[in-house]
Point group: C2
Chain length 500, copies 2
């Protein structure tokens, strides 16, 4: 995901640097206003003209303008076009924006007909003459990224050196689209031991991230005539977006206090849609944090068996369980009906682009064929280095060290919230790299605004709610793994300041 | 691409290890017959039963059986099923098959209605009682892969170590989908200097191989409403296949002795189809080896300007020109109408999965958006290592050293062919890692069979001919870069043995 969205030239020449164009354009415009490069009162080009300049769809620009008007950055009046809003606060130069997390930036989601208005989309009065001064985030508690400062450079380099030295010449050639056999062999051993995955190396396909794996399996399901993949009520919009972008429907499973109501896969909850697969974060729901209870684990596998469907298990942070034994992978219940997707992005680093799928026998050849049809794999030296890293025990040592560190942070988070905001419930804390802080009804948006004011990047649970799901929860999703150790205490203090 | 297709168990349990299932199944069956694991006379399972066992389409299995019958490996008789053919030669254990090249294995291509029969698809009489004994290739002159034994491990490791040590923490996080700015910056400098590419870092998108780049640009063109991308008469079927797989038509430009007839883009040669782009190997036609002459370079850019189309320039081996200055990239003629695609797969190693696109301003944001939508990039440490490798001059040194080595091999090839087969013309030798040996009309298939018999893996020009193009050339495509130094002389001798 992009982290440097735009730079301004003298002629309003934006250099978009990221995928989510509208969000990027909004960031760029906010930044230009914030830094004073766009002065109050300046008239912006028409959305049509700017879209043409940028090679973007006009709607994208128009939507960005509209949202920035809603946020108070811009004003729009009939006949006078779109202008930069006047502000009471003096400008100041802003430091460079912090890196983003895996979790997506907020998207304005279309409100479905009949759904009650989302609390998160209540418009801010605009134009704001005394706009709150937004600060560039000094603190980052957005979920989805491990502590990057803890990447074990020396150990990784050692593994890389060994792997590169020992690699056969053919490793530098075009490879098996499933990935290097050396890596698949040690991964199979590791996944069986650490995650209870039932696996042989032949069933593993190495991919360049969870999204890559999801794209591959989505393509295979489409080829098989599957039309819909059910998703959970809360999750990453990017994942559902990838599926819909590929042409699959994404009916949403309802959610209750025990988690995702998987029984609705065969029930009336999907309004007659019969999905061919369901995407789940069974071991640790993202973002709400619970583990799917045993009866529902059994039920979702039973559904897959009875219907011929598949469970796509997103086991993104299965290594990080603090208070008891890890919840084993759902895949162990039925390896022929569950596609297991794991990643090194949380346990090690997203920048390595290493992830893996464990496939049912019936899908393995098709997934390899789809992957091979575009002939890319992860870099072979990286795969061999990761194999060496796993085989040498360096991975286990790193995960253990990080588990201790994250657990300490989690305990500090719980203690700090209890001390500063006794009414705030902290949940989803048994595992993973994030927690959910439940807020009083209707206050999420205010707290997020306050966080932005205090220079704290954090996300609300409603930013992960599927568009068709009614808003019933208010809360923050706090990624306590994200900051480096040096920034953790400051981030925690900032968080406590914004809690009610 | 996969190089280990199958292993046999006692119950005919194939473990397919590659994407092109039919070819892989054929390899597996040939190998099983060759090694004696499937004895002469053995009855094979029905195509339906084997397909079910393998999770493959029945047609795939039936086609593989039919081709193997045509090749004489199997027999098929009404009422007695498909059996292993009897052979006069004694069995012998075969060494492990050599690694494949970038160039695809031969595909049986459907013959278009009205096209005259291809000389390459003349059926072999079957069942063959005295089947020529096929040898596992001992020598590999298939095009598309550099000498993997020459990968500069020590220099690469040095660059990797430096890069990993100097990397900012954020490099281990989710990154800009366009790739690391450090790499794009040095690539821009290098491409301008070495390939005459007109480029700024903002216009570069790093991708995981040429096919990945082609997939991205194909998606963007589709999103823009483009329906057809013209291709050359000869090329990699994988590339055209990727485009057709994405839903694009691939009308074929005719070819004459001066190369691809680009003037037909605006002429009657495409039968009324108006492609939105054309995929070209302008600097070094693959596989025939010529450079597009200057007037046609100008013409294809003029077409793009006039029609609003794009030229997709596959500059796969632009660094390797032997007898004069490199032919500069077509992109330099009009950076707004040419998408430049380059790769480290020939200059360094395919296993690194590093390639790059240089995009027109109008496409840059869209390509980044499509790439970002599945959020994968090449590994950040690899990108930083490659940036260091380029910036330190190690890349230039490596390319210079390999250029000398490949040139020496090319000269040896030309001399050996002149000595052993004076009637064979060697062409396409000014550049690149392969040459074309023109054969007497109608003899390509015989020579390929003889090569297989002599344990020489090599490909014929007709294996790269688009299905709708009439067969008018017979020749071998000899990848002289492929073998390691230790195997080069033996491969050359084997080649001379099979030439007429």
């Amino acid at each position: 995901m992009a982290n440097e969205w735009a730079t301004f030239g003298s002629d309003l020449h934006l250099e978009l640097r990221g995928p989510r164009l509208r969000a990027g354009l909004m960031d760029a415009l906010r930044e230009a206003v914030r830094s004073g490069r766009l002065e109050a009162g300046t008239r912006l080009p028409s959305s049509r003209a700017l879209a043409a300049d940028l090679g973007m769809a006009r709607n994208t620009v128009a939507d960005a303008y509209a949202e920035l008007v809603a946020e108070g950055w811009l004003t729009a009046r009939q006949g006078s076009g779109t202008r930069v809003a006047r502000r009471a606060e003096p400008r100041r130069a802003e430091p460079r924006r912090a890196a983003p997390s895996r979790a997506e930036p907020r998207r304005a989601e279309p409100r479905p007909a009949g759904a009650r208005p989302s609390r998160t989309s209540a418009p801010v009065p605009a134009p704001a003459l005394a706009l709150p001064r937004p600060a560039a985030p000094a603190h980052n508690l957005k979920p989805g990224t491990p502590d990057l400062a803890s990447f074990p450079r020396a150990e990784w380099l050692k593994a890389y050196r060994r792997a590169l030295t020992a690699a056969p010449n053919e490793a530098f050639g075009y490879g098996d689209p499933r990935g290097r056999i050396e890596l698949r062999t040690v991964l199979a051993e590791y996944l069986a031991r650490a995650r209870g995955v039932h696996v042989r190396p032949e069933r593993i396909v190495v991919c360049a991230g969870f999204m890559h794996g999801l794209m591959l399996i989505g393509q295979v399901l489409l080829n098989r005539g599957v039309r819909d993949v059910a998703v959970e009520s809360y999750g990453l919009g990017l994942h559902a977006g990838l599926l819909t972008g590929a042409g699959l429907g994404t009916p949403v499973l309802p959610f209750d206090e025990r988690g995702t109501r998987v029984e609705e896969l065969a029930g009336p909850g999907l309004a007659g849609v019969h999905p061919g697969a369901v995407l789940m974060t069974a071991a640790h729901q993202f973002p709400l944090g619970g583990a799917l209870p045993p009866d529902r684990r059994a039920a979702v596998v039973d559904w897959a068996r009875a219907s011929g469907g598949f469970v796509l298990e997103d086991d993104y942070d299965g290594e990080f369980r603090y208070d008891r034994q890890p919840v084993g992978a759902l895949q162990g219940l039925d390896p022929e009906r569950v596609v297991y997707l794991g990643t090194a992005s949380k346990s090690l680093a997203p920048g390595l682009r290493l992830a893996w799928m464990v496939l049912p026998e019936s899908l393995a050849a098709e997934v390899a064929a789809v992957k091979g049809a575009v002939d890319w794999t992860s870099s072979a030296p990286d795969q061999l280095a990761f194999a060496e890293f796993l085989a040498s025990g360096a991975y286990d040592r790193h995960v253990r060290a990080m588990r201790l560190r994250y657990r300490r942070r989690r305990d500090q988070l719980v203690a700090a919230v209890a001390a500063h905001s006794p009414g705030t419930r902290v949940s989803g804390i048994a595992a993973g790299l994030h927690a959910v802080l439940t807020l009083p009804p209707g206050t999420e948006q205010d707290v997020l605004r306050s966080a932005a004011w205090h220079g704290l990047a954090v996300q609300g649970v409603n930013q992960f709610r599927r568009p068709t799901v009614p808003a019933t929860l208010d809360g923050l999703v706090v990624g306590y793994a994200t900051p480096p150790d040096s920034a953790w205490q400051g981030a925690l203090r900032a968080l406590c300041q914004v809690l009610p």
